[in-house]
Amino acid sequence: MSTSLSAGKRMSSRRRRQALIGAAYILPSFALMFIFNISPIFLSIFYSFTKYDMTAAPVWVGFENYIKLSQNKYLGMVLSNTVRYVLITVPIQTTLALLIAAFIAGFLKNRYGSFLRSVIFIPVIASLIASATVWDVLYKPDGGLINQFLALLGVSQPINFLGKKPTALPSVAVVSIWKSTGYYMVIYYAGIMNEPAEVQEAAIVDGASSAQRFWYITLPILRPITYMIVTLGIIGSFQVFDLVYKMTGGGPGRATLTVAYMIYSYAFQDKRMGYACALAVGLLIVILLIHLIQTLFFKERDA
């Protein structure tokens, strides 16, 4: 009895020691995560209720920033830009990525296929600023490669892609599609490779064509990945910054203004920190809602 008790005590003192050592391992991450990832969320919420220009102390203004935000005449424009951006980028990049991944997995499972996958992934590793710089030059009305090509096709008047309202947003979206298709292709490809081979083989035995197998087997199996890719695409569209900063500055006439760019310009150009924080908190709520909808949708489908 007494020996087992002291053994128990020894165990718990060993356990306590281990817990302390464990805490020491976790501590550096906690300090950094708390300072740079967790506390700023709450500070953002706090500042969103203040007026603050970083010279004088923040002044509590209650919901004033949010009220002003609801009356902001550019906000509707930004939301419609974002919706248009989503409608251009998400269907195109998702479909392209899926078709390319499925085609390579089905018909080009050789060195050429893996070479093509490597090449299509290259734009993913280029920084957005370098990409924006290159595409900015490609889009130039005075001799940009795209206009040179269009001239060969007989288009007499060079198109000012980034300088005109109707073309500016789609032109930025094209760069985004160019940069992310390879990324989504890799995710789809991994998903297809994880597909159990027996199902495909059974379908072949039953005489299903490759189109039927794609439609009835591959596509349903990839559904979770598709949800994820669409969600990432939507969330990403609110946060487009680098491309817009380098290519259009939000113009012409705010045709390419995004939420992220708006936050940047309110905070760091106008020094309206409180107001910018209110917009950031709004963005946070929207993004959390999108995550929530995706999760609910998932559960419903699984059940």
């Binding site: 991450s29 392209l96 734009p123 290159v134 900063y245 995550h291």
Partner: protein
């Protein structure tokens, strides 16, 4: 299974090949223009000759040498910090009986859903108040995130407890167990995380743009963004800058392709 060569397969191959060409064409064009000294965009083949003058100009006259050095310091510092802090934390979370650790871990995971713009403004204020703007610390310290800890913890699961216990019985100390047993076992994950961090730190733009405003402390993408592309621009020099920015990740990609794809793919799925 034997695939017959069908028309559909040929057309598909041609289309995918065409898409692959479209993927690299802008980058090939970037490299080509970086070697010409033409100030117009109507580049003729005869203008294309190995000519490093644009690079020399960008590096010596437009701050690219300094930006390159700053980027390298930031990336190396970020990778070291993220690797050390993440693997330590993952080990603590997975292998030590710390009370409340799962709650904390869930809290970490939740931060992955937070868009960067939300934490940007308070972080800017904190860094300024701590007089850390225009330092490498400002660029490196915020690179630690939940993704790295999450990734490392998934690999820590596979480290057998018996191995650690046996080493302890043999008198192998706590730190030595971590460094000589745990770290070698999770090395593949560390490489993936390093590549991910490299890419994130190298391409980071908005944060360096606002926090390090002095040009001596600018990193490559920020210096790149200051080269205006107005009508008087020397396109060759701009493209040389873009090529320099692209070159380092590209070299790494060629040598560590598998880890690169893994690091970036896993990093995006985090949400």
């Amino acid at each position: 299974m034997k695939q017959k060569i069908t028309g559909g397969r040929i057309i598909g191959t041609v289309l995918v090949t065409l898409f692959a060409v479209l993927c690299v064409l802008p980058l090939l064009y970037m490299v080509a223009v970086s070697f010409t000294d033409s100030e117009s965009l109507y580049i003729k083949l005869k203008d294309l000759r190995p000519n490093l003058s644009n690079y020399v100009y960008a590096i010596t006259k437009r701050n690219f040498g300094l930006a390159l050095k700053n980027s390298v310091i930031t990336v190396v510092g970020s990778c070291l910090l993220v690797d050390v802090v993440s693997s330590m934390a993952a080990y603590g979370f997975e292998k030590k009986p710390v009370p409340g650790k799962e709650t904390l871990f869930q809290g970490y995971i939740a931060t992955m859903m937070i868009p960067g713009q939300v934490i940007l403004i308070p972080m800017f204020m904190m860094m300024n108040r701590a007089h850390l703007s225009n330092t490498f610390a400002a660029l490196i310290l915020p690179m630690v995130g939940a993704f790295g800890i999450f990734l490392m913890r998934q690999f820590m699961v596979a480290v057998p407890n018996e191995l650690l216990e046996a080493a302890e019985i043999d008198g192998c100390g706590e730190i030595r167990r971590f460094v000589t047993i745990v770290i070698p076992l999770v090395q593949p994950a560390l490489i993936t995380l390093t590549v991910f961090t490299f890419n994130a730190a190298w391409n980071n733009f908005l944060w360096p743009l606002i926090i390090n405003t002095r040009s001596e402390m600018a990193v490559l993408p920020v210096t790149m963004s200051t080269l205006s592309s107005n009508s008087t621009t020397n396109y060759g020099m701009v493209m040389a800058g873009a090529t320099l920015t692209f070159l380092f990740p590209f070299i790494l990609y060629i040598f560590l392709q598998k880890q690169f794809v893994e690091g970036i793919a896993l990093g995006g799925v985090k949400g």
